[in-house]
């Protein structure tokens, strides 16, 4: 009986992962295709990566996107960590229902609605649209993701450490900075990375809130993809995938090491 179960489980996991990875693998392989026709294999080649280096508009869009992602992820990390602390530690304060509603809503809100409403706000305020409006929009979008990540860490956190510090006369702010923050640091860093990746990825909200001179990478890719599949797009997608994979693997290794270190010191938050 157990054996039959495990066969079923193995198959479902294997099929599921194959479904998730085959399309990406195909894309990566075809980015090294020497032929201009994307469906015909013309031998291994790096020519599309070389073509990419000469594509000034694409590079410019990449720089814009990285800038927006870095600024908005940092702002979202501060805001998201604050609201996670507020929601987990302060429990019931006036307006908590509206607050938690506003915190979780962007998580599921269709992007067309968020994008449209932010654009109309910027128009009503008569702000020039460009780098900063997209940054504000992305901060609003990604704050909730940081909140969720940090929150789940705070919930499973051993509060007696904080209480011990406070009982010994440590003021709350100092307790937070010297005890709480170092312990939730992996979650804060993960939240920042998630916000960064989401900002780098967003097409819809950026399309609404951007202005002349601030074309982000997804907007640029999208306008080319609509014209059809090109090997050059395969190449830029492969670079993005490689970057993200490296980032995620490295950060999870780091998180594991810091967790092991904490456990070795004996202050690891055991669930």
């Amino acid at each position: 009986m157990m054996r039959r179960f495990s066969w079923f489980n193995l198959t479902s996991v294997a099929l599921g992962l194959a479904f998730l990875y085959l399309p990406i693998a195909i894309l990566v392989i075809y980015s090294f295709n020497g032929s201009r026709l994307v469906t015909i294999w013309g031998g291994w080649s790096l020519r599309w990566y070389a073509a990419l280096l000469a594509d000034y508009a694409m590079l410019q869009a990449a720089v814009t996107s990285l800038g927006i992602a870095a600024v908005s992820a940092s702002a979202a990390t501060v805001l998201g960590t604050l609201s996670a602390v507020g929601l987990v530690r302060f429990g019931r304060f006036p307006g908590v229902v509206l607050f938690s509603g506003l915190t979780y809503a962007p998580l599921v809100m269709p992007e067309v609605i968020t994008g449209l409403s932010l654009l109309l706000l910027f128009v009503a305020l008569d702000w020039d649209r460009g780098f900063w409006t997209v940054t504000i929009a992305h901060t609003t979008l990604t704050t909730c993701f940081v909140t969720v990540v940090v929150q789940s860490r705070l919930v499973s956190f051993d509060r007696s450490l904080e209480e011990a510090a406070m009982d010994l006369g440590c003021p709350p702010l100092k307790t937070f900075l010297t005890i709480t923050l170092p312990l939730i640091w992996p979650a804060v860093a993960a939240g920042w990375m998630l916000a960064f990746a989401l900002s780098l990825d967003d097409l819809v909200i950026a399309s609404f809130t951007t202005g002349p001179g601030a074309t982000t990478l997804p907007i640029r890719i999208y306008s080319q993809v609509r014209l059809g599949v090109t090997p050059e797009i395969n190449a830029i997608c492969t670079i993005l995938i490689a970057g993200v994979t490296l980032g995620v693997v490295a950060s999870s290794l780091l998180a594991k090491r810091s967790q092991m270190k904490q456990e070795a010191v004996g202050i690891g938050a055991v669930r």
Binding site: S12, Y30, I113, S117
Partner: protein, 306 residues
């Protein structure tokens, strides 16, 4: 709870909440009110392209005139035109079908992961998460490669002699469903996995010892215990899928648009901002119940955890 804290601490505390609170009110709540207002306006050839506009300088009289100029015309034209109704219906239908498919595939995958040896579970979890980190746009684009007429799928089908003529995959609802299931799978798997992983396995042993066949144990023990995860996954997928734009735009056809595409078209192509706003308001009303349910679950999950 601890005893009442000194008032200085309360002030410091409220500052912690106040900063993100103000940000969300300014950039999430107020924009919706503006959308609501503009949905009651009329399009105009002006900058901004709608009328009436409200100016604080004109004071109370100006405000009264502004309110008098608001009209529900946009909502009436939404109701009168079959284009919009069919667009909403199509979105709901696509979201329902793909959420169902996601649930089937996602549950099987999550179940397999939760029953895998403890040692490999973190690796499996990371493998499921990884595509979620890579760009949405790239993942949809990857399917264009595969689904186009002379793409890989048709090459394989022809080589295996399963079809004689290469069928058209792109610009069909099938392509939309494939793209959505592919893109949203991690959102379904993760909450279900989290629920299954927490489950006490001795319950299964107890059921088996008492002579309950495995399928019945699954149905009577595992499924009810994973219900919160299933509900979270379903809502986390269903709500954004209804408003999805990128996937139907790149993979779908042009005969019936999903509502996200209709909104996009009204806004960018027709430049009818008031009508686009009305489309958004109605879409939001459709989604209010699922969104509120989702928030409720999230809060309960948090309170149960702490």
């Amino acid at each position: 709870m601890k005893q009442a804290a000194p008032s200085r601490r309360i002030r410091a505390r409220s500052l912690v909440v106040l900063i993100p609170y103000l940000w969300l009110v300014a950039f999430f709540l107020i924009p919706f009110l503006i959308v609501l207002k503009i949905s009651l306006s009329q399009p105009a050839v002006a900058q901004p392209p709608y009328t009436p506009t409200f100016d604080l300088i004109t004071g109370w009289a100006g405000f009264r005139e502004f309110v008098a100029n608001l009209s529900p015309d946009n909502y009436l034209s939404l109701a009168a035109d079959w284009l919009y109704l069919s667009s909403y219906l199509k979105s709901l239908q696509v979201a329902a079908v793909s959420t169902f498919l996601l649930l089937l595939i996602g549950y099987a995958l999550a179940y397999g992961m939760a029953r895998a040896p403890r040692r490999v579970q973190p690796i499996l979890l990371m493998l499921v998460m990884l595509p979620f980190w890579t760009s949405f746009l790239i993942r949809v684009y990857a399917w264009i490669n595969i689904l186009q007429r002379d793409g890989l799928l048709n090459q394989v089908l022809l080589a295996l002699h399963l079809v004689d003529e290469p069928p058209a995959w792109l610009a069909t609802d099938t392509a939309i469903h494939i793209g959505i299931v592919y893109s949203y799978l991690p959102f379904m798997v993760l909450p279900i996995y989290a629920a299954l992983e927490k489950m006490d396995e001795t319950l299964l042993e107890a059921a088996a010892d008492l002579g309950c066949p495995p399928w019945k144990t699954f149905w009577l023990v595992t499924v009810p215990l994973s219900r919160p995860g299933v509900l979270a996954g379903v809502l986390l997928c269903f709500i954004p899928i209804v408003g999805e734009f990128v996937i139907p735009d790149l993979l779908g056809g042009s005969e019936t648009l999903m509502i996200g595409q209709t909104l996009w078209m009204e806004f960018f192509t027709n430049r009818d901002w008031p009508l686009a706003s009305a489309v958004a308001v109605v879409l939001l009303l459709l989604l209010v119940v699922p969104i509120v349910t989702y928030q409720h679950i999230e809060r309960r999950r948090l309170e149960a955890g702490s």
